[in-house]
Amino acid sequence: MSKGMKIEFTKILMYIFLGLIFIASIYPIYWMLSASTLDNTNIFKKLTPGTNLFENFRILQEAMPIWRILFNSVFVSGVVTISTVFFGALAGYAFAKFNFKGREPLFFVVLLTMMLPIQITLVPLFIIMTNIGWTDSYLALIVPFMVTPFSVFLMRQQMLSFPTELIESARIDGSSEINTFIKIVLPTMKSACAAVAIITFMQQWGNFIYHLVVINSSEMYTVPLMLSMMVQPGHVIHYGAVMLGAIIGLIPMIILFLFFQKHFVSGALSGSVKG
């Protein structure tokens, strides 16, 4: 085999390898789409879209308040994201650019709790929510997640490099501290904010185990909770309707991805989404 042929051969192998992974990555998503148009007898037989889409939608709507649930997911993830970014940036700014008593020990606490899994707070949060009567409400879904140590950490790292002279000259000009933060510091932190926002949104969008614990009524379900309830063993499962619900639940994430693709990458790089 000549050298040129050998290179061609490796090239072909590479494309076959990538092609296989490409199909494996995409196909289940295509299958979801086609399954959402099939009825229960065809869902395992047909690999192409069928004609049962509207019937599936009717079944879905009868079983679950789908638009309300979609709104719940968007609203809860949205509010949590805005709050996490803002309060994280605010605290991160204080840790990065101010000298104050207790700064080191307080930041150490932030670092220490950053890696803790949510499961360690799951039972106590359930007890707290029950005691203060927040179960089955937006408060229970939103308030406990409004801040994360991770966002404070990431924001602090980003703000360390912000030129202190700019803050001082703003101070001399008579700008109030909060004004300086909002008008001068925050606008330069757009990409850090975007990274934290994407991570937080994805995390909250997929928040399942906690929602499973504090939510009872279908009016308050979020998308993952709704889907898990629709496939509970013991009663007839309409797979087409479940898949349609899954597709509807996927739309906001796809839209977000189309608009903020590069921030998904920087979000992935800054870490801590898995779980």
Binding site: A91, A94, P124, L125, R171, E177
Partner: protein
């Protein structure tokens, strides 16, 4: 007087501002994280019945360590960890290296396609794969049938059920890690490869002697994230197998969830959560230590 007063006022404000800035964070963090973390520790030494706590010392921990199901769930989680994480990271690295080599066309298309699974939430993809892995009707067994392989008992055989769970986690996270690794690859300068070319190093040699060592910090980062994620595995075994057959796929988090909200044994579940957290901390520490750390 006026002039002397103003700077002092400003100084006070300067001293006070950082506290005001961190206040919202620490208020919410204190109530909904720090307090629960301590509460959980207290709970782990108590038994909980109808809102009443009774101190039981180390009983919960003892009970956990003598429960064979707890050990089984730890063992299952360990198997997922040891097989899935290295396998996935190897795959992600190989794919990233191939995409990064400028010979590949459409690499943008590949990158987006490989990242797509990471957009789908854990419950959704678990349901999809639960159908695809259906033993008698699922697509995967159909395809295997085409090439003459008998239907695989994905859900009724412990070994195959574990393979199924490992496969689906890999599907969900391969591209995600691939994107992280790609950004690490882009930081390796071409010059190093060029001088290796001059020395006559082949593809394989370059991969092991240049690419892997240069990627160490980023691979470590991926490894720690994946480890933490795997130890928290919950939705996949819950939906794909319900932990079965005969608890062969139960993860430690599924076990703890059932203890907490199936039998309302909050003390036991809290003790378990502390054990898992300790394991996470120890493993992360060891990974950093044995790989020599690295700036992230």
């Amino acid at each position: 007087m006026e002039e002397a007063k103003q700077p002092r006022f400003k100084l006070n404000k300067l001293k006070l501002s950082p506290y005001i800035f961190i206040l919202p964070f620490f208020l919410l963090f204190g109530v909904f994280m720090l307090y629960p973390i301590i509460y959980s520790l207290v709970l782990s030494f108590n038994s909980w019945t109808a809102g009443e706590m009774t101190f039981v010392g180390l009983d919960n921990y003892k009970q956990l360590f003598t429960d064979s199901l707890f050990w089984k769930s730890l063992k299952n989680t360990g198997i997922y960890l040891i097989i899935q994480v290295p396998f996935m990271l190897l795959l992600s690295t190989v794919v990233a290296v191939i995409i990064n080599s400028n010979k590949v066309k459409f690499n943008y298309l590949f990158r987006v396609a490989f990242f797509l699974p990471a957009l789908i939430d854990l419950v959704t993809y678990s349901i999809v794969f639960s159908l695809l892995f259906n033993e008698s009707n699922g697509l995967i067994n159909h395809l295997l049938g085409f090439i003459g392989i008998d239907a695989i008992p994905w859900k009724t055989d412990g070994f195959w059920a574990k393979i199924m769970i490992i496969s689906v986690i890999t599907w969900r996270w391969m591209g995600y890690n691939c994107v992280i690794i790609l950004s690490g690859l882009q930081n390796i300068s071409e010059d190093i490869y060029e001088s290796a070319d001059l020395d006559g190093a082949g593809i394989v040699k370059k991969f092991f002697h240049i690419t892997l060592p240069m990627l160490k910090p980023i691979l470590l980062f991926c490894m720690i994230l994946s480890t933490i994620g795997t130890l928290q595995l919950f939705a996949e075994p819950l939906i794909l197998t319900g932990g079965g057959p005969s608890n062969e796929t139960t993860s430690v988090m599924l076990y703890l969830y059932e203890k907490a909200f199936g039998s309302f044994n909050f003390g036991l579940a809290s003790a378990g959560a502390y054990i898992v957290t300790t394991i996470i901390a120890v493993i992360s520490f060891l990974q950093i230590k044995f790989t020599g750390g690295g700036e992230i």
